[in-house]
Amino acid sequence: MGKVLMKGNEAIAQAAISAGCEGFFGYPITPQNEVPEYMSKYLAKSGGVFVQAESEIAAINMVYGAAAAGARVMTSSSSPGIALKQEGISYCAGAQLPIVIVSVSRGGPGLGSILPSQGDYNQATRGGGNGDYRVIVLAPNGVQEATDMVRHAFRLADTYRIPVMVMADGIIGQMMEPVEIDTTPIPKAANLWAATGKGNRDHLNVVNSMHLDSVELEDHNILLNNKYLEIVKNEVEYEKFLSDDADVLIVAYGTPSRIVKSAIKTLREEGIKAGLFRPKTLVPYPYDALHEASKNVKFVLCAELSMGQMLVDVKLAVNGIVPVHFYGRTGGIIFEPSEIVNAVKSHLGGK
């Protein structure tokens, strides 16, 4: 397989099919429409099932049902659509179902706009579903990484029996880049827990999120939390760029991190030692690594396409050892490298 020029949304869909996705349930919303469009065209050809549901809520519950029956499944949507799916995501997390959710985020709140945004950081990392649960969240910075992360998402979902969200943004969804999609099928974990029919088994497999007995529910919550702690131990991923000798550390994720990289090059040309710290996993967040990376800098600048959501996690990571500043744009406006350069300079003061 050589490189092909593909739109992010289509590449995401193809990566899922190549990974061995068996069922896709979705509902249209811009800017992710090419994901279901591509799935509707090609998933059935590789033996999978595509359903355009009557709503986002129906789609996530179909995902629940199919995953409970042991199928490898995925859904995709964008901000307001992901909001509608939150109840179902909580149920999937409670029932420990391995599912993949692709979120191609746009402007908000409410209907907002269809332009790129990172205003759904809290939605993705904290979630809007009820209860004590976590969802793994991966944040790609381009088309290639989006396809790699979709594959990784299926792997993680299987390994930990947990919902995994790939949080792209409208830029990744809409842009074309050369991409080489890994077409090796990902072996499916033995899902001995799935409701596949009793057959010769001596017990019933029940997929459920309800535990009315308090001790039983606490045990269940502890089990979910232990699983999360295991994920924290094993699955944190991040990228550092020119950060080892940096005086200024900029934290950014997704496509905006590439704009920050270009700002860092300009800053370096002007003699200001800036570096980038890019979380690739938003959950689990690289708290320890970011803390370590900020030890020798003058300050940390968190740059997001929001009014400051990841900022909270950056502050938790830095934990007061150096000042943390913020720069953000919203509404579909994407900051320019020069804005980041100016923000850094303004915090450096008279130098």
Binding site: M176, P178, I259, P337, S338
Partner: protein, 179 residues
Amino acid sequence: MKSIKLVCAGFGGQGVLSMGQMVALMAMKKGFNTSWMPSYGPEMRGGTANCQVVIDDAEIASPIIAEGITLLLAMNQMALTKFQPKLEKGAWLIVNEALVNTDEVPSDVHVLKVDFNKIASEIGNPKVQNMAALGSIAAQLDIFDKQDGIEIIEEKFGMKNPELTKLNQKAFEVAYDHH
């Protein structure tokens, strides 16, 4: 190399989006990093459609061209008005002479005027004007030669429509040789 930041803009229907894709495809085949980003959403209806293509031998920092356009293709006046302020000094501007007035373009921008409408009508098919524009762009960028364009057109249209492929290649060549 200095990063190439190309913006192609025109009316919806002038084929600027697919033409930009072909530039990105040519760059990819030459082994460069590249990205293609369309304008999408409400502004596509009625107004200008545009796409941004970045080509670099290093990793592409930003697929969004916020500033410092190095090459602008303006297929109509609105396209020029919208993107002229973002041209860097010494940038190249290719305009569709039939529809674009360049009186207010600053003197530090190189202007190439090509009448894409005329090229297309002489070839006998208005559809080929975007491939003529591709010819002007390819001629302007050192990384491409004539053969790259001929091949990409063959690859893109060859199987589907051999007749149109020939006309597209002709339009490409006429514009490529124009200056």
